[in-house]
Amino acid sequence: MEYEISLLTIMGISIIGALSLNLIVGFCGQISLGHAAFIGVGAYTSAMLTKSGIPFIVAVVAGMLLAGILGVFVGFASLRVREDFLAITTMGVVFLFMGIVRKQEFLGGEMGIAMIPDPGLGKIGYMVLVLLLAATLALFSIYLKRSWLGFTFDTVADDEDTANLVGIDVARYKLIAFALGTAFAGLAGALYAHNVKFIDPESFGFIESITILSMVVIGGTGSVWGVTSAAILLSIFPMWFQFIDNYKLLVYGGLLCVIMLFSPDGLSGLFGRIYNGIRSKKSNASG
């Protein structure tokens, strides 16, 4: 039972991490290869604060805030560079994060931070909290997509120059996407830190950024249920099948290639086409 609880908790954290990146990449069309850095900011902030006696909830909110503020700073880069150049810039952020954290003694340096205090909810309570937060973020994402903020994100993702020429303050919208996405990444980090109770710089490296990006791309950028499904599959498969965990990068890389080649809009696009195909066949048959 304990194993299943741990599995579901990790799954919930992965969903939060993937949906947070989906706000930036999927909704607003801004590529980010440095998302793990913001998860790390949330994890380190809440770990440090709870170790110094600050209540868990306050520490988590502080982790979200700091990650969101740093996200806005990185978002400023998106105002100057686009596409490939933005990808490289955000990739730099994750290396910068690791480089800084490794050299700071108060952050535990290479050794990381151990014995992160337990939130005191019990394993089941913590799992329920994580899953509730994941479900809330999924519902928030669905709401956001249908709100005028999401409508505007669609146009910025489509063509930001044209969005500017229909009166949209593109810069502010992009900064909001980065602020929201990175704040929720901070939430995922804080929850991760208090789940595993040990963090080090390697936990938030470039490979983790690509892992989260894989969940978004494989699920279908912009699709809430697609990204959630991909996060569930990609987080629990390596734990169910240990041999996958050993070849995790190979499997993720292979899946990314297959999806980009055969269904660039991810699993959501694939299932959408299958569903439409079945529906049109049915209507032809009845017609």
């Binding site: 005028w148 903020l149 409508f151 146009t155 993702a157 229909v166 009166g167 949209i168 593109v170």
Partner: protein
């Protein structure tokens, strides 16, 4: 209404516009014409703020637009239809126009998260699509539509801003004779409804037919301004269009 004063634009040592000025009066259709490379689109970009002039000013209803970014100029009352169509391809035709019709809801990014309903904007968008005769394709994605529809979609989107002035950059380009006449008639209809229009166009017969006044630019300088017939009879303008030999011969 729109006042363009002494605009000079230099691109890396090449003077694209040199001291151009003209004004567009409220309620008129003004044509901005000139041979290829004359500087018409550059002038349009100066008005919308995507090109910054080295000197000169642009004012709209006595409000100085200099230094304002493009989105603020648009919100000041300029509706732009671009020469190369740029629809939002992930949205339907109706959503393209409805999005712009909701410009009040997108003004404040932080507040836009609390705005949800699109019904009123969709109704308004449908009326604009009906006015331009493209309501039949309201639910279609722009990627599946011919150029004639996309050109009208550009105009519809600009109209959805309820602009004080509509800037149209070659809305007839790429259309056949019938489509071009239809589109020009629509522009005339809009003008009769009170819309002020600045029209860049190469289709001279339609320009002369629908415009109240013309401004002509060539090699970055203004060479003509006034009534369409008088401007087109000006030997300097004819020379710019037909070459120096024609001028000499005539």
């Amino acid at each position: 209404m729109l006042q363009v004063n002494n605009i000079t634009v230099i691109f890396g040592g090449v003077t694209a516009l040199k001291g151009v000025d003209f004004n567009v009066k409220c309620g008129e259709i003004m044509g901005l014409i000139g041979p290829n490379g004359a500087g018409k689109t550059t002038l349009m970009r100066v008005i919308t703020g995507t090109v910054i002039p080295v000197s000169g000013t642009v004012t709209l209803e006595n409000i100085n637009l200099d230094g304002k970014p493009p989105y603020l100029r648009i919100r000041s009352g300029i509706g732009l239809s671009q020469q190369i169509v740029h629809p939002f391809r992930s949205l339907s035709v109706l959503e393209n126009v409805a999005f712009v019709a909701g410009h009040g809801k997108t003004k404040n990014p932080l507040m836009s998260i609390f705005r949800y309903s699109r019904d009123r904007e969709k109704q308004k968008a449908m009326k604009i699509l009906q006015l331009l005769g493209i309501d039949k394709v309201a639910e279609a994605k722009p990627g599946n539509l011919p150029l004639g529809y996309l050109k009208r979609l550009e105009v519809a989107r600009a109209l959805a801003l309820e602009p004080k002035i509509l800037l149209l950059d070659e809305p007839l380009a790429g259309l056949n004779q019938f489509e071009a006449k239809q589109m020009a008639d629509k522009l005339l209809e809009l003008n009769h409804l009170g819309q002020t229009i600045l029209l860049i166009e190469h289709n001279l017969s339609e320009v002369i037919r629908i415009c109240n006044r013309l401004v002509v630019v060539d090699n970055g300088t203004r060479i003509g301004l006034g009534n369409p017939r008088e401007v087109m009879d000006d030997p300097i303008v004819r020379s710019a269009y037909l070459g120096g030999s024609h001028h000499a011969a005539s």
